[in-house]
Symmetry: C2
Subunit: 305 residues, 2 copies
Amino acid sequence: MSKLLAVGTVAFDAIETPFGKTDKILGGSGTFVGLAAAQFGVQTGVVSVVGGDFPQAYLDMMNQRGINTEGVEIVEDGKTFFWSGKYHNDMNSRDTLVTELNVLADFTPIVPASFKDSAIVMLGNLHPLTQNSVLDQLNEKPKLVILDTMNFWMDAALEDLHSVLKRVDVITINDEEARQLSGEYSLVNAANKIHKMGPKFVIIKKGEHGALLFNKEEVFFAPALPLEEVFDPTGAGDSFAGGFIGYLEKTNDISFENMKRAVIYGSAIASFCVEKFGTQKLEEITENDLKERVQKFVNLVQFNV
Amino acid sequence: MSKLLAVGTVAFDAIETPFGKTDKILGGSGTFVGLAAAQFGVQTGVVSVVGGDFPQAYLDMMNQRGINTEGVEIVEDGKTFFWSGKYHNDMNSRDTLVTELNVLADFTPIVPASFKDSAIVMLGNLHPLTQNSVLDQLNEKPKLVILDTMNFWMDAALEDLHSVLKRVDVITINDEEARQLSGEYSLVNAANKIHKMGPKFVIIKKGEHGALLFNKEEVFFAPALPLEEVFDPTGAGDSFAGGFIGYLEKTNDISFENMKRAVIYGSAIASFCVEKFGTQKLEEITENDLKERVQKFVNLVQFNV
């Protein structure tokens, strides 16, 4: 069985939405990616760092879901990365209230020996040099490297970002970030320019408006499921990415046709994620739930001409 | 052969976009609806009003495309409705520079005798009382009544709008207007509330993010085609509506399954409309162009699980 490696944050989040408010709960991109990929029963290793304040119970839960946390370094005298945010009424924008980097400030990811031969590697939203250092530790070039990034790194480390992009097969990025990275307003033109930076596949996430998957010749569109209520959008993008790579890993097929399905599975898992606070819903969904949800996507867009 | 009736404006537009600027050109909701429906070779009657300044050549062009303009009243000593607008760089917002109602101020639509038995009736974005008066003139309840409206009428004539909505089968409305009309942020909840006002089918237009078609149990999503360039968005919503009803009229089938196809055809025609200024592109497209464009929509969303 081949393996999946995800580098990202494992963190505490405190979230406020129009529906309620949480204390510090489990969060982080690595956590969401791992829990989403775990839906496919693949062997997923998460590389991250936490402090001595991080509950063993969270690691136990991740292990029970099939996530290997050998690569989650525990800095006993440090504190876990903490983010706090408040969503506006439209759920499409949020204010960051607190960002405490803590142990993340000095994070140097170390890929466990048992995951140096991973077939699929997800480079979560971290400094591009950190992302590059993960690739340097692998035995050989993985079958597929996926990178997530954000406007912060385009402002602060654009040259480094361009350097790691050359080594990446798939980039996931939101629409505004795609526009910033490419300097193009049209997402078609933006994807064309980003292809030239390295990634053969460009996934542009549009939140409640779905996601576009581009290769150099074709484009595929996956809608977001129209929901009565979005309870908490935190982690939706990471759940999407985790579902995408989990499906690719499970099916062992990185053709464009299969990537279309992977984008639908990622969208399905993201649609679950937003139904409850934090990782709660991802910890509950069953194989059957996922199957039914994917069918809803089929019904949503299927037509015959 | 059954008939299609469209009530709306026939007007002059002067448009400025980041790509260029026009003098007064042909515009108006009735014009775009008629030209879009005409792609399907159905018998379409437009009811509207113009002034003595309206070029006969425009009417000739509409007639040549198969549009019956018997219902377009010409007020010889009046001036044609004129709108001028400037689009912002993102093409999603615009400033209205000039609105001269002119002959539209006293418009009382008169349905020609030959179209009083129309099977499908499109009530373009006009005062709800004007929309109501059109329905009153028909011999019998049409097979399908489609209504377009906007926030202006929700602010100025909400009670009248509710009155006409009771007589309507399909409403087309944009996302912000759906939220205003229903008082619900979630589009799923908005559609549920609007169903209760009368329309069995609710189409929520999201511009570059596509369109949602709801009946009381199901939802269908049609994406917008990702385009390299949107040249001029004027008339896209009306072209969508015209394509939708033109397809329904041609196929003589108002089942939900066929409405899905109609929404795709409407989206395809709207995607042509935005490629050139005003009605220019709608005057050029062939049956084969349309077929190819619809295939692009199939490719855009088609996947197998």
